[in-house]
């Protein structure tokens, strides 16, 4: 696949996989050094940006997100904005107000969420890199379901300027690709201090490049509740790691079970305030009746255009911040975050990384997802939310395939700012791993 052939077949390929909400009309790559795509919650000056929501249809941002600007400056050509769960609210990319991406290994299955379109694009287009965003697992989950590599760097490593916020204390921009080496290369491109996002200004330089992974800890709580396929693939992968000279130890991390409720309290609390700005003025849909009183005008837009899960999370987050409930939920969740961080730090005193399967099952079928309750869906995130609530970098690598041929991933978590050990782990793992490619075509 050349850049030109990818561009000339873009519409047809997208009609099959639905990875993009908006895409380039160009068929000539010009002097581009590489093609890339980006999750649709990163603003782009030349393409509509909707963050998977009907309420933002028609929004043309006046500027590029810093991460997109850096990719362009490095010679990248943005070819598409990737479909996703509305504002990142989901585990399967099925909570979209727009299009739902199809898994390249089985079109009747989900890509994972919420950066589903990004992982799909990385799996389908040869030599492609896509920017994803993780709040509670939204890079590693879809990378696992689509059989590709994905990294969510340390919170604050990549500027969030131009990111449509979900949870400000949780959102991290990262990289998804079928080639492990791309993760280091493109994370280095998009990382760095940016005065427009003060949280990025506390970051140190990347630690020594090429630091080897020598030992991993597997939390007992991280290997509970797995499907048979995931359990088999994961423990076979652990044996392969041992054969590569990596020490493996089983440990207790009791705080992990509290991470899921703490995550949903923090994420929905932050989301409910962030989404207060969408009221039918300034962004996206604005066709309302100006003779209405402002309360009724705002309610009209929000009720009509927010999807089911967005409304649920707004209600949940508004409730957990209300006077009388705030201490029990929000304040306690902040403390739990610190407890989880301490548990990770303890593990990192004697190990380079913490390892577990990325997701407890492989990509589910769409008809199975439609039968899941909201709480069932939240519970599916129990392996990815701990690292996200802690702000620690984590990487998903393909580690095997289920009896149905669907990809399975495992997730390494490292200490704050120690992405290099993860890059090395992924690159070492990639050597000799029999990676399958989906049969693609328009």
């Amino acid at each position: 696949m050349t850049m030109r052939s990818i561009l000339s077949g873009l519409k047809e390929t997208n009609a099959k996989y639905r990875m993009f909400h908006a895409m380039t009309e160009d068929s000539d790559p010009g002097d581009a050094k590489f093609l890339f795509s980006a999750k649709d919650n990163l603003t782009s000056a030349d393409m509509e940006t909707c963050s998977g929501s009907k309420i933002l249809v028609g929004y043309r941002p006046p500027f590029d997100a810093e991460s997109i600007a850096k990719m362009r400056a490095a010679g990248g050509k943005l070819i598409g904005k990737c479909n996703m769960d509305e504002f990142g609210f989901g585990t399967f990319s099925t909570n979209s107000g727009l299009e739902i991406p199809r898994n390249p290994y089985d079109l009747e299955r989900a890509c994972g969420g919420s950066s589903g379109g990004s992982a799909c694009a990385a799996a389908v287009f040869e030599g492609h890199v896509s920017l994803g965003v993780s709040t509670g697992g939204s890079i590693c989950c879809p990378a696992s379901f689509c059989g590709v590599y994905g990294i969510a760097p340390t919170y604050g490593r990549v500027s969030r300027y131009g990111l449509i916020d979900y949870g400000n204390s949780l959102d991290k921009i990262g990289v998804i690709s079928a080639d492990a080496k791309d993760l280091r290369k493109y994370t280095h491109i998009i990382a760095g201090k940016d005065a427009k996002d003060p949280t990025s200004c506390a970051q140190p330089e990347f630690k020594d490049t090429g630091r080897k992974l020598k030992s991993v800890a597997i939390p007992k709580e991280g290997v509970e509740g797995l499907s048979k396929d995931v359990e088999k693939a994961f423990f076979e992968a652990v044996e392969r790691l041992r054969s590569m000279g990596v020490d493996v130890e089983s440990i207790d991390m009791p705080s992990l079970k509290y991470a899921m409720p703490a995550y949903y309290v923090l994420a929905t609390s932050e989301a409910s305030t962030n989404l207060a700005r969408y009221v039918g003025m300034r962004y996206g849909q604005q066709e309302g009746d100006h003779s209405l009183k402002f309360d009724d005008y705002f309610s009209y837009f929000r009720s009509k255009y927010f999807g089911d899960e967005a409304k649920r999370r707004i209600l949940l987050g508004t409730y957990t911040r209300m006077a009388g409930f705030r201490d029990r939920y929000y304040a306690k969740a902040l403390k739990v975050r610190q407890v989880v961080i301490k548990d990770y730090k303890r593990a990192f005193e004697t190990h380079d990384a913490v390892l577990a399967p990325t997701m407890p099952f492989s990509a589910p079928r769409f008809d199975d997802i439609s039968g899941m309750s909201a709480l069932d869906s939240y519970k599916a995130d129990y392996l990815t939310v701990p690292a996200n609530i802690a702000g620690t970098p984590h990487i998903s690598v393909p580690c095997g395939y289920g009896s149905d041929g669907m990809p399975i991933g495992m997730q390494f978590v490292a200490d704050h700012w120690d992405e290099e050990v993860l890059f090395d782990a992924a690159e070492e793992w990639e050597k000799g791993f029999e990676m399958r490619k989906p049969e693609v075509g328009a």
């Binding site: 043309r60 006046p62 500027f63 340390t154 919170y155 604050g156 204390s169 003060p198 200004c201 506390a202 705080s255 509290y258 409720p261 703490a262 949903y264 309290v265 009221v279 003025m281 604005q286 009746d289 100006h290 003779s291 209405l292 009183k293 402002f294 009724d296 005008y297 705002f298 309610s299 009209y300 929000r302 009720s303 927010f306 409304k311 649920r312 707004i314 209600l315 949940l316 508004t318 409730y319 209300m322 029990r328 939920y329 304040a331 306690k332 969740a333 902040l334 403390k335 739990v336 610190q338 407890v339 309750s373 909201a374 709480l375 939240y378 519970k379 802690a390 702000g391 620690t392 704050h416």
Partner: protein, 90 residues
């Protein structure tokens, strides 16, 4: 969470719910909040920051500058003579 509370929260969030939505969200939120009771037994901790890493204040020089062209910012907005149209306040 009872129906009255869901209605009160929805009003605060500027979302009008249909009867079917009220019913569904009351049940869902009850299930979710019951699960969140797990937090009551979580260990306590003296530290409590809003960010997972230490974040230092970053201040820029107090000098006027133009980050974006106002006409570009107004692109796509419902405007009247470079003002943004909005609903009435009372």
């Amino acid at each position: 969470m009872d129906r009255e509370t869901v209605e009160r929260v929805a009003r605060a969030a500027h979302i009008k719910l249909t009867e079917a939505e009220l019913e569904r969200y009351s049940k869902d939120l009850n299930d979710i909040l019951s699960y969140f009771e797990l937090l009551d037994e979580a260990p306590d901790c003296e530290e409590s920051g809003v960010n997972p890493i230490e974040v230092a204040d970053v201040l820029r020089d107090d000098e006027p500058r133009m980050d974006a062209d106002p006409d570009v910012l107004l692109r796509g907005m419902d405007t009247y003579e470079r003002y943004i149209r909005g609903p009435r306040l009372s």
